[in-house]
Symmetry: C2
Subunit: 349 residues, 2 copies
């Protein structure tokens, strides 16, 4: 067991500050990682503030981790000291249920082990995330980062990236499809980049003309202002796929009307009651609404490899660990284009 520096909070109302946490000694199938960068996800805030049910304190958030391997267990074959690696939202799962057998650990029927806030099978207590200088992770849950990617920017691929990649792939988005990305934040901006790189015709759907302009710079071919009835009417029945990244409950009917017959809108932002859904809109064109949760380890590696080939990277703003509380306030106000990444070198100060 090793004591490492971290940042976390002790209660729902406490700010984040420096603390020490324990990391387990290396097991045969473990990889020890020095954390170089960690992305800031809105989930970090929801969890640390007990907004998704009571948290286990202290909370050390962070599940968008980029680091360097410092040691590997005897049974580890895929990684060696010095490799640049990633860790996302999961660090373990049961490995024997149907979901795990299909490489869909995010749907593990016995519950995956989250990178932070889950029961720690090794040390007891609960898991601590990436707002820390080091982490020990089972090889199966460690990802290769392609050498050509700028590793200072890559961290958000591990959550915002895979959360948008997985539904685009699962619902078979392909070149020429008309794809709508609803909402422009950490998730939405990755949705635009991926759909564009897949060759789709990408439409940014937003309430804000300013965000529309930003979206064009990210790869959107067109902008649809969702509050403009006449624009919405023009695009009715025309979309092959909709990725809905709006992070709160809202009236989904205006968006569902945009879908062609038999097509699907996938929810990845809101995980709460929707303000409205008229099932008549589903009935009249056999439309679907579905949800999708992050992505499996295998498809996360596929996404990272795709990013390497197509040089897809998030837009990030680098911060020091010490500015995390101010950064969180800006995340809550959606005042970030589009993801904060913590430079963990700052933790050594």
């Amino acid at each position: 067991m090793n004591t490492v520096k971290a940042y976390g909070n002790q209660s729902a109302t406490a700010p984040l500050g420096a603390l020490n946490i324990e990391r387990r000694a290396l097991n045969a199938d473990d990889v020890s990682i020095e954390i170089l960068y960690c992305g800031v996800c809105h989930s970090d805030i929801h969890t640390a503030r007990s907004e998704w049910g009571p948290a286990r304190y202290p909370v050390v958030p962070g599940h968008e981790i980029i680091g360097k391997v410092t040691a590997v267990g005897d049974a580890v074959s895929r990684f060696k000291t010095g490799d640049v690696v990633g860790v996302g939202c999961m660090v373990d799962s049961c490995q024997h249920c149907d979901a795990c057998a299909e490489d869909l650990e995010q749907y593990c029927e016995n519950g995956f082990t989250g990178t932070y806030g889950s029961i720690d099978k090794h040390l007891g207590g609960h898991t601590f995330g990436g707002y820390s200088e080091a982490i020990v992770v089972k090889e199966k849950f460690v990802l290769h980062i392609p050498e050509n990617l700028d590793i200072a920017k890559a961290a958000p691929l591990l959550c915002a990236g895979i959360t948008t990649w997985s539904p685009l792939k699962h619902w078979n988005v392909k070149a020429g499809d008309k794809v709508g990305i609803i909402g422009l934040g950490g998730l939405g901006h990755m949705g635009i980049k991926f759909a564009h790189a897949m060759g789709a015709k990408v439409v940014m759907i937003t309430t804000s003309a300013a965000k529309g302009n930003d979206a064009r710079l990210l790869g959107a071919d067109e902008v649809l202002i969702s509050t403009d009835q006449s624009q919405m009417e023009l695009h009715k029945n025309s979309f092959d796929f909709l990725l809905n990244t709006i992070p709160v409950g809202h009236d989904v009917d205006p968006y569902l009307n945009l879908l062609k017959r038999d097509k699907t809108m996938v929810m990845v932002g809101a995980i709460e009651p929707l303000a409205n859904l008229n099932s008549g809109i589903l009935v009249r064109k056999r439309r679907n609404i579905a949800g999708s949760l992050i992505g499996g380890i295998r498809e996360t590696q596929e996404m990272l490899d795709f990013c390497g080939v197509h040089n897809v990277l998030p837009e990030v703003e680098m911060i020091d660990m010490q500015s995390i509380n101010a950064a969180w306030d800006r995340v809550v106000k959606a005042d970030i284009k589009y993801r904060f990444v913590i430079d963990m070198e700052s933790l050594k100060k």
Copy 2:
């Protein structure tokens, strides 16, 4: 043009009574049909009472029609005088859009012509349905009734039947699947019969133990009382498919929790706002919710042929045309097992 006897109403509040309507002279591709039986669908009531927006009066309802061919146009090849035939919810569509090209006339992008209450392309005015002694229908929209079926009972297959058959087939329900039928009325009872005949393990999901017992007689293997939390918990994550026939908006969350990962609940009853839907339930297991509208002409014929082979028929209560107003009151109170059929011989009285 021919004047025929019918039953209809003149305003949202007027009861149905005898009246005369016009039927067009036979075109080359038309089939003239003497109506023998007509099913009573809740849609008839919603339409005639302007509950689905202002109706065109007089309304002559009825889109579950069984009749005998009395004449055919020169270009008609599939029917001859004396054939027993069916007509369902549609009597025409554009025949050139993508949906029509895929034999999915119910999703015609230019709007199908409903059997009643749609614009009549031939006579002007609007179409009149099956509560009448005769109808003239384009050959393409006329269906063969298998000879072995009891034609006095077959009428509800043309709406209640195809509305439940189509989603069961489209979502590929197969032998051994665990299928839940939610709600036991005109639609639900056909859902049980079809899913059972397809070899699925059928679970009736209802608030009422009495309905559960009825469902077993119709072919349900098991009954799940949806208000019993412990029963619902036992069946969580276990269904391959759910067919939701509840005719009004309701909280769908308890039902969605019953689905396995990646599986679908299809709405065929409610065509209005749902009381609640928490998208987190979709997200956590990549579940889907979809809608489905009646069915295409080709699949309606396939369903009728299946009913012939497996002797699947609705449970009906025969009435005379003159008791229609009392029957409607009973439909509204759900006091019918499970479909009224009007014996059109009574219209001659």
